[in-house]
Subunit: 323 residues, 2 copies
């Protein structure tokens, strides 16, 4: 790897002149600049970016932090990376597997200036712990967190959930089963609210009083399907919090010879590519634009030029897993 | 952000002592070290990693470069990130959208020491261009590239393709249609070889003499399905190069009222989660272990301690898209 001294020697100028030419600071004559550029080209020299970053205090690198990395996350990451690249930023990905220490290590990179900002997708630590990192760089999330320090590209799942329930009702479903992710999640709370309010307004009894939490893994869905198979009066629709959970539910219902949609309809959430492939009814809200917005929001805080946020809204996509 | 001077002031020692304590270089008395550590804690100081990296010439950061970022890529990235994390490395993701310049920008980070190594998944530039970067850090790929400078976690698709064709033959298929990705890809060449050799050995005429290349996007598969719908003698099996392509083919055949598997069977490739959800027959070769191996191979070259490579082999997974 050639050094500034090597370039100075080849160009026949002082190292200080090379440094001024490379860093565009101070006067360098046109003739000297040309000689330096030729030497740089000949020696295939690239400035050590870590030295530049040390000087400017910015790394032009954004982090995405998530406990896991699945298709739902993927749909947000692609537009995020694209948006970051347009603004001259790279993107580093951190998968924490839900380990608190591993998540804090990623956030520590804000302190050590290796990250300029973080988009937090699924978290492991509590909000209080994560909030303290906002001293060192902007953090953006998609959760409805009551924090003035962590802005969000959050969309209220209450409305999306109501949309799915109203549609199921309109096509004649009366035994509506809703399944959920983590009970602590604020989206889960809003979905529980929507389910309760919907039944109150209709003056109709909920199909099951026990909510099904933590639905997502193979095992959780196997348990759900076993429970459904054992019920005399099966749910005539299952509304879900994610397309990946819904896809697995459809696949496992069919494997258990429970007819989808004739015995039990299924409605997904997120409108991921898999819902199209499996011809699955789902709720769309522009998940890709949500990823794009997350990046724009970080750039707003980094005082870079940035585009306005894209408005998000819910839309029901009717496909073959509802009658 | 506190500086070394701030710590020195609070600890009542010289800046040089603080520097020696932080960098574990040179003598520092136990009493001074304790005072420094207390000051670091009180001031919430984190050393600027870019300064450390400047000193050591390593960034402990690996890059993954790909033209696109889909479920197939996802299956390799997760184990890669996991393996990298165990060895103390972070992972930065570069999606190039097939733009040559954007890919070269990612590779330039090897020169500027922001990346220690690169795992190249789908490339935009020719091998000759990319090979020149191996001067600056190890590059690993999964393609069968004839380069001694770029090692590979390549698995020969010929064998996997033969496995799919033999199985289709055994269950009575005689009109075998194979579809491909990019014609320039070396995997495609091996798949064409397998298709030709198979038919020669069986003494059987290929179903179609025109190979279907570039199968993957919605549009390409719409064209394929239209062509199939227009054929009097439809293929009784479609063998593919990827589960994502196969999933879209199954979905679109069914939408066109072509019965899968009774009219046309479909065999995927990669054994991704989607093949399980869609109950799709596919070819497995340990795609996750391939991602893990890519990281281990980079670590071997970086002279870090690293685990041995995991052997990969093909296995047919029989599911519901074949009779």
């Amino acid at each position: 790897m050639p050094t500034i001294q090597d370039i100075a020697k080849l160009a026949g100028v002082s190292a200080a002149t090379v440094s001024r030419a490379i860093n565009s600071s101070g006067y360098v004559s046109a003739a000297a600049r040309e000689k330096v550029n030729e030497a740089i080209k000949e020696l295939n020299y690239a400035p050590n970016k870590n030295a530049q970053y040390l000087r400017t205090g910015a790394t032009k690198n954004l982090g995405i932090v998530s406990t896991q990395f699945n298709e739902t996350v993927l749909s947000r990451i692609n537009p995020f990376i694209d948006e970051a690249y347009s603004a001259g930023y790279t993107t580093t990905l951190f998968i924490t597997n839900g380990e608190k220490k591993r998540e804090r290590e990623a956030f520590d990179l804000l302190k050590s200036k290796q990250l300029d900002g973080i988009f937090l997708i699924y978290r492991a630590n509590d909000w209080h712990t994560l909030e303290s990192y906002a001293d060192y760089g902007p953090i953006v999330t998609l959760h409805n967190v009551a924090s003035r320090r962590i802005p969000s590209v959050f969309i209220d799942h209450y409305k999306g959930m109501r949309l799915a329930l109203e549609y199921a009702w309109d096509i004649g479903c009366r035994r509506l089963l809703n399944v959920y992710g983590t009970p602590e999640g604020l989206n889960t709370q809003r979905r529980l609210d929507a389910y309760r309010d919907f039944h109150l307004e209709k003056g109709h009894s909920p199909y099951s009083s026990e909510p099904f939490f933590h639905i997502g893994s193979d095992e959780s869905i196997d348990r759900l399907i076993q429970w459904i198979a054992s019920q005399k009066e099966k749910p005539d629709v299952i509304t879900t919090h994610s397309d990946t959970a819904a896809a697995l539910i459809v696949s496992r219902l069919r494997r258990s010879d429970i007819d989808v949609p004739n015995t039990t309809a299924v409605i997904g959430f997120d409108n991921l590519p898999i819902s199209d492939m499996m011809n699955m009814t789902t709720v769309d809200y522009g998940i890709e634009d949500q990823g794009r917005n997350a990046c724009r929001l970080l750039l707003h805080h980094l005082k870079d030029e940035s585009k306005p946020l894209i408005p998000l809204s819910f839309k029901l996509i009717k496909r073959g897993t509802t009658k």
